[in-house]
């Protein structure tokens, strides 16, 4: 593969690492989720434009829409947790009560 793809793929792997390994704040994993979405978007747009796959030109926009929805969901979950505990420390999530 060309260098561009490897670069963007590396950025994706970094965000994935950040999503799976974090210390205490739930917010940081949400941010890394956004980073993943961003890198996927860039990769998709570059690949389509380079290979002139005009039929698939709308897929990045659709990806963005779904990313927005899931960001909203993630934030609302964060707000719910924060409502109960005051912070978003991940240690608090051992009691499964809303």
């Amino acid at each position: 593969m060309s260098m561009v793809y490897i670069n963007i793929f590396l950025a994706f792997i970094m965000s994935l690492m950040g999503l799976l390994m974090y210390r205490s704040h739930l917010m940081s994993s949400l941010l890394c989720l956004e980073g993943m979405m961003l890198s996927l978007f860039i990769m998709m747009a570059v690949a389509i434009l380079n290979n002139h796959l005009t039929l698939a030109s709308m897929t990045p926009i659709i990806l963005l829409v779904f990313a927005a929805c899931e960001a909203a969901l993630g934030l609302s979950l964060l707000v719910m947790v924060s409502n109960t505990y005051g912070t978003d420390y991940v240690q608090n999530l051992n009691l499964l009560q809303c």
């Binding site: 390994m21 994993s29 999530l93």
Partner: protein, 603 residues
């Protein structure tokens, strides 16, 4: 003829107009009002005599008031059989009542205003009686309603009086709805509010306006269903009760139905309805009167019962007899109220008959008039009540009518005798049960004169009126002897039964009231139920349907809240995880890395 009548009515207006002048502040104002009414009475006797001798009726229609598109309204007075005879009777009774209230309301600081209100009431009653079109009648109708409100709530500091006045207005209003419905029907179907035009044109189905008029009479004359305001109206001073709620205002409803007798003659349905309504009223109120303890309330229920009898008379298609009963009833009922007023005042405002007794010796004149009034009420032969009441019962017995209603009326007649005996027994006989320091004095000339006038009226007026009026409907002359004696027999039975029961139970211990007693004493539970239940139910239902049904249930609860509740319950039921999120993520990552490394060996 006609100028005299108008003069008589104009004289009545004078004291009201003068009320803004110096004369009003004078302490002689009541005396002035009383003499005005006596002059008006004497003047109005002249057209009455002319009417009796010649039988000529008149309609005075002088001032064209307004024309609403095709309806022409003018100020027209109808001097026919009914109004010409009613006006002197009403003026006579009012004259006596004014004189009585000069004694009764002597210590009241607003006595001038009281007389002004009574005079305004009289004027509106005259307007009602002499109206030739429905609009003028409506003016008089509303006028008597308003004056009744002002006079019942005369002692406005008392919460009960205010409640009673409001109750009177509300019940009258419900009747007014019927009146307006009849007016609207007449306006749309015959384009006239004049009686002459209504009676001449032939209508095909008169049920709706007659129903409206019956509803109006139910409201104004306190028939069953709209009756609780009449006993509550006894919160007003006794002259008010004597004038309004015995002789004049409550007969306005009956008068309305009498005015429309050409329309009611053909309609059998309406006659049956009025008959049954009157029968129910007279029996129910007579039952309620049996166990009341307040002397004014007993007389009020007696009024209500007699009103039911009048409605029954209309129901058997005898409007002239009903009118005769109105005129004769005015005399003895006003006198009964005045006697009770004299008793109440002498006993220092004691109205409970359980606390009166033995007034036979200290108040001979009042005793006499009370006994004669009660006898006239029950229809003792050859007193006043006989000429109307006995005729009514005879006609009802011999007419082709509803047998149940007839039976009810007979039972109510015997109950009339029963509660009259009860009044007389408790008030007059036996040993005194009141405080011993009361000064019982009936020596005032105003009191004696007024009651004396009504006493002579109660004895002779029946005879005089019956033999001097123009002949109208022919009473039934021949009937079996047992039918003719029915009224007398049931009355005597009622008297004897009540007397025996009262004497037997005089010294016994007061036992706990049976349910029948409670039914009778609490007015058949009617006011208690009907004042609270329908209003609370309709308010609750409207609140529930307006706010709860649409907004809160559908929009708020069904979709959003139920979904969230469901999800929460499900998630807590199904999941059994602990919250060790970091470990989960770490294991995920290690698995991913390991798989990528291990599966890279394809190269």
């Amino acid at each position: 003829f006609t100028p005299l009548m108008l003069t008589a009515m104009f004289i009545l207006l004078l004291p009201i107009i003068m009320s803004n002048t110096q004369l009003y502040k004078n302490s002689l104002y009541p005396h002035y009002v009383k003499t005005t009414i006596s002059y008006a009475f004497i003047i109005s006797m002249i057209p009455t005599m002319m009417f009796i001798s010649s039988g000529q009726e008149a309609v005075i229609s002088n001032w064209h008031w307004l024309s609403i598109q095709t309806l022409k309204l003018s100020l027209s007075f109808k001097m026919d059989y009914f109004s010409t005879i009613f006006i002197p009777v009403a003026l006579f009774v009012t004259w006596s009542i004014m004189e009585f209230s000069m004694w009764y309301m002597h210590s009241d600081p607003y006595i001038n205003r009281f007389f002004k209100y009574l005079l305004m009431f009289l004027i509106t009653m005259m307007i009602l009686v002499t109206a030739n079109n429905l609009f003028q009648l409506f003016i008089g109708w509303e006028g008597v309603g308003i004056m009744s409100f002002l006079l019942i709530g005369w002692w406005y500091g008392r919460a009960d009086a205010n409640t009673a006045a409001l109750q009177a207005i509300l019940y009258n209003r419900i009747g007014d709805v019927g009146f307006i419905m009849a007016m609207a029907w007449f306006l749309t179907n015959s384009n006239a509010w004049d009686f002459q035009q209504i009676f001449i044109t032939q209508h095909e189905n008169l049920n709706i306006p007659l129903l409206g008029l019956l509803l109006a009479a139910t409201g104004k004359s306190a028939q069953f269903g709209l009756h609780p305001w009449l006993p509550s109206a006894m919160e007003g001073p006794t002259p008010v009760s004597a004038l309004l709620h015995s002789s004049t205002m409550v007969v306005a409803g009956v008068f309305l139905l009498i005015r429309f007798y050409p329309l009611m003659e053909q309609n059998k349905t309406m006659q049956t309805l009025t008959l049954c309504l009157g029968a129910i009223t007279t029996l129910f109120t007579a039952i309620c009167a049996l166990t009341q303890n307040d002397i004014k309330k007993i007389v009020a229920f007696s009024t209500s019962s007699q009103l039911g009898l009048m409605i029954v008379t209309i129901g058997i298609n005898q409007p002239y007899l009903a009118f005769l009963h109105i005129c004769t009833h005015a005399f003895f009922k006003a006198m009964l109220f005045m006697c009770s007023g004299s008793i109440i005042h002498s006993l220092n405002d004691e109205q409970d008959i359980r606390k009166m007794g033995g007034l036979y010796k200290p108040m001979p004149f009042t005793t006499t008039s009370l006994i004669i009034g009660s006898l006239a009420l029950t229809g003792m032969p050859f007193l006043t009540g006989f000429y109307s009441k006995d005729l009514i019962i005879e006609t009802a017995n011999t007419s082709y009518t509803n047998a149940w209603a007839l039976l009810i009326t007979l039972i109510a007649t015997s109950l009339t005798a029963a509660y009259s005996t009860r009044i007389m027994f408790f008030v007059l006989l036996g040993q005194p049960r009141f405080n011993t320091l009361n000064l019982i004095n009936e020596n005032n000339t105003h009191l004696i004169n007024s009651i004396k006038r009504l006493l002579i009226g109660s004895i002779f007026a029946g005879y005089l009126i019956s033999y001097n009026i123009p002949p109208t409907t022919i009473p039934q002359m021949t009937m079996p002897y047992y039918l003719k004696l029915t009224a007398l027999a049931v009355t005597i039975a009622g008297f004897i039964l009540a007397l025996e029961l009262n004497l037997a139970a005089k010294n016994l211990k007061f036992m706990y009231p049976s349910s029948l007693f409670k039914f009778s004493n609490l007015l058949g539970y009617f006011p208690i139920v009907m004042h609270r239940l329908p209003s609370k139910m309709s308010l609750t239902m409207s609140q529930k349907s307006a706010s709860m049904l649409l907004d809160m249930i559908w929009l708020e609860n069904v979709f959003p809240k139920s979904i969230s509740l469901f999800q929460m319950k499900m998630s807590t039921t199904v999941s059994n995880q602990k919250g060790l999120v970091k470990l989960y993520f770490l294991s995920f990552m290690i698995t991913l890395a390991l798989s990528l490394i291990l599966l890279n060996s394809h190269e």
